[in-house]
Amino acid sequence: MKKDEIRIAILRIEGTNCEEESYNAFKILGTKPEYVHVNELSRGLKKLNDYQMIFIPGGFSGGDYVRAGAIFASRMKGTISMDLKKFIDDGKLVIGVCNGFQVLIELGFLPGINTDWSEKPQAALAPNISNRFECRWIYVKKEKNSCEFLKNIDDGKIIALPIAHAEGRFIFSKENEKKYLEHMIDNNQIALRYVDPNGNYEEYPWNPNGSLYNIAGICNENGNVFGLMPHPERAFSRYQHPGFYRNLYEEPGKKIFKGMVDYIVKKF
């Protein structure tokens, strides 16, 4: 498939608010991103099937009242989650950033342990241990994992990305914690982990929310559903990086976006 044929649905409802920068990122890479309101899907005005990738952007969908992502997820449960399941089964990509990650967890598409779609959430992104919204740049290390589209970044590489959330503490229920975590490690589902600048798995503020096992981003067993708390779309160009005025030329977010696009080009 050619780049300029790739159609990417950037989903939104009231309160998603990082769609523009995500849209721009895909646009700059030569694909055809498109804003798709959930109402357009549920009213039948647009069809999921027409896209190769669904991108659920960050924000405060539905105000994040109740729980972050819960309202967006419930809106999808009512209407399009069957279509979404088929989309995923077809091997197409579904990415959720920040609020989008929360939505995928709430919907049960991530972490997808022993299933492609769990009816009830298997994990939670709970309130940050600091009990505050935190906007800051952090470091993550890319772990060995099964996301084909993260291959642009070497395993073990440390990259800087910004986070901005109040609910990002990845946890399992106490009774499943050990079992699920081991399962995810065994299946290479843990993609990004918070580290300090030297690559050590450190505590707050390097682990900005208190996530279990410093988890920042994960994928499903097949590697085609991916969720992460940091915002690659805010680290896309050199001038978004806080190091640019220290003469660092880093564009970590672009690597992530480019990987997704390259993967679709190859696969479809």
């Binding site: 729980r67 959430p121 939670a124 009990n131 399992f172 229920s173 208190g210």
Partner: protein, 81 residues
């Protein structure tokens, strides 16, 4: 019309940062004998109709929106109004 009260709280063992923060603030305010604080949400939902099926409906609301069973437990009470 019935009123459904749903209390959603964290399960035992799930850390509640808000509760911890409030405990700390209360201690700083010289309420030194405060030993533990938990914070839950109380949803009061007015539903038209009778109360027979309401409990089941409320459970469904928890399931579909109000609760993530990984971290939450809940309690439902139904009241005629």
């Amino acid at each position: 019309m019935v009123k459904v009260k749903i209390i959603v709280s964290y399960k035992e063992g799930v850390e509640d940062p808000e509760g911890l923060a409030i405990k700390k603030s209360l201690n700083l305010l010289n309420f030194n004998n405060v030993k533990n604080v938990t914070v839950s949400k109380l949803y009061e939902i007015n539903i038209e109709g009778d109360s027979s099926s309401v409990k089941k409906e409320a459970e469904e609301m928890c399931d579909k929106l109000l609760v993530n069973p990984v971290i939450h437990k809940y309690k439902i009470e139904v009241e005629k109004i």
